[in-house]
């Protein structure tokens, strides 16, 4: 790890004063579960690390007029156990509980989950976010079994965020603060698919800090289902987060978002549309799963993810209406 100066601000104002206009100058440190490893690999080598863990304003979960306000420093453990989250935002609690190690859940934060870098082994191996060599991505003909089946080219990595799909399904926004002011961005637009090697996979600017997430308070039935190869110490292969607005026993409107299948959480309006006005049954849930993967474009080694994504949608829907 390269050496760095360590800033320990007590307020958001002090913290954003430590950031810079370009990436590479400063990195924000919260739980450290990703950043410390990135720095050990020299994938990030900031001159300044800005620890935000002592900023009290970034803590806590509370109900507001706009919905549930979740501070960026809330840990995955707190999120998964929060009575407020469990009561009305099951998809979110399940996404947090799915993160497969108590140590990571104790350390990892909401802000960190959304801002972590992709786990693509080409990126982690130093080939860059787009894994380019001689002007061509190494992924389509390379080792791509964990890569994207949607939205691929030129980026084939999958978004590593566990909370992203659930937050998109629930219509959440993030608040991003810089020295110049604050802005709110829907989580659906926070994740971006880079078209060139210089763009990040999130809309956060280098001089901004993600301070909180706001999830609207609409009464929806929701669930997250993850498909994994291993239950411990691994990332999911495919996930689905669903949010259903019900009219009695039929679906008034649905939001169905896949995770770990594309460079960003993958919203499937086709799957959602297939459920409108219907009850959620084995048959309609399966049809929604099929609709969700109809446009999948698997690579040479990851066609299996199409089946997993389809099953994840079906099971998430059935779980959402079960309880």
């Amino acid at each position: 790890m390269e050496s760095f100066a360590y800033a320990n601000p007590a307020t958001v104002e002090e913290a954003v004063g430590q950031l810079a206009a370009q990436w590479g100058e400063a990195d924000v440190l919260a739980g450290g579960t990703d950043l410390i490893s990135l720095m050990k690999e020299n994938l990030h080598a900031p001159r300044r690390v800005v620890n935000i863990k002592n900023i009290k304003a970034l803590e806590g979960i509370r109900k507001t007029a706009a919905g549930l306000r979740i501070g960026a420093l809330v840990t995955m453990d707190e999120l998964a156990k929060s009575a407020l989250v469990l009561a009305g935002y099951r998809a979110l609690a399940e996404a947090a509980a799915g993160i497969p190690s108590p140590q990571i859940r104790h350390m990892g934060t909401v802000g960190g989950d959304l801002c972590q870098r992709p786990r693509c082994w080409y990126y982690r191996g130093g080939f860059g976010l787009l894994a380019m060599k001689d002007g061509k991505s190494l992924v389509p003909e390379g080792e791509n079994k964990y890569h994207a089946i949607f939205g691929g080219g030129p980026a084939y990595f999958v978004s590593a965020s566990s909370l992203g799909p659930a937050l998109v399904a629930l219509g959440a926004k993030v608040k991003l603060v810089s020295a110049k002011g604050a802005r709110e961005v829907p989580v659906a637009q926070f994740f971006v698919t880079p078209k060139d090697g210089d763009t990040r996979e999130i809309a956060l600017r280098p001089d901004e800090i993600l301070t909180e997430v706001v999830v609207p308070g609409a009464a929806v039935k929701s669930a997250t289902y993850e498909v994994r190869q291993k239950t411990a110490l691994d990332w999911p292969l495919a996930t689905a987060s669903v949010a259903l607005e019900m009219n009695g026993t039929t679906v008034k409107s649905a939001k169905i978002v896949l995770g770990h299948v594309a460079p960003a959480p993958w919203d499937s309006p086709a799957a959602a549309h297939s459920l409108a006005g219907k009850q959620v049954t084995e048959a309609t849930a399966e049809a929604a799963g099929k609709a969700a993967v109809a446009d999948a474009r698997p690579l040479s080694q990851n066609a299996y993810k199409v089946t997993l994504a389809k099953v994840a949608v079906k099971r998430a829907l059935l779980n959402a209406v079960k309880g």
Partner: protein, 203 residues
Amino acid sequence: MSSKKGFSRRGFLQGAGVGGVLGTGLLEREAEAAPAGAAIAGPGAVPITLTINGKPVNLTVEPRVTLIDALRDYVDLTGAKRVCDRGTCGACTVLMNGKSVYSCSVLAIDAQGKSIETIEGMTSPEKMHPVSQAFWENDAQQCGYCTSGFVVACKGFLDEHPNPTEEDVKHGLGGNLCRCGTYMGVRAAALQAAKQMKGGKNG
């Protein structure tokens, strides 16, 4: 550990002391950018105080030194192991404010003001903690490399879940890997220790 960038600054800072970063020199730009009150340390070595197993410990480390390296290389507490060093295997597990964390993914400077509990503070051959005793009795180790991390993670888990089922144990210890595959013994040990720790006498 590489110190390519840090050497000249470190020399400067050692002379200037911790607060000296706000003077002149290589860090002038950071100092100018810093609003009043934003404390900056490093990149050179700075004095820090950690509370390890109930006792304050003073050491001087660069901000980039992780907690596992501080424990092993500066304080001579070698029970927590550095194995993957990427927050994936669990061998470096310690308790921070009672919660299990990967000490390879925590900066030592960041652990100030927190209560850090390592395997050395929990158990010794003379006075075995019920978790260690149960690991021994259930053959829950083979090569032993993962054991201290597992024992600490297990204590943290049982403090929070005094009456676990086997399924709870499986998930609750899911942050630790054993290359020898002693999981069956570890799970049996966790369940036995849970029974013995009831009443909180040894918690």
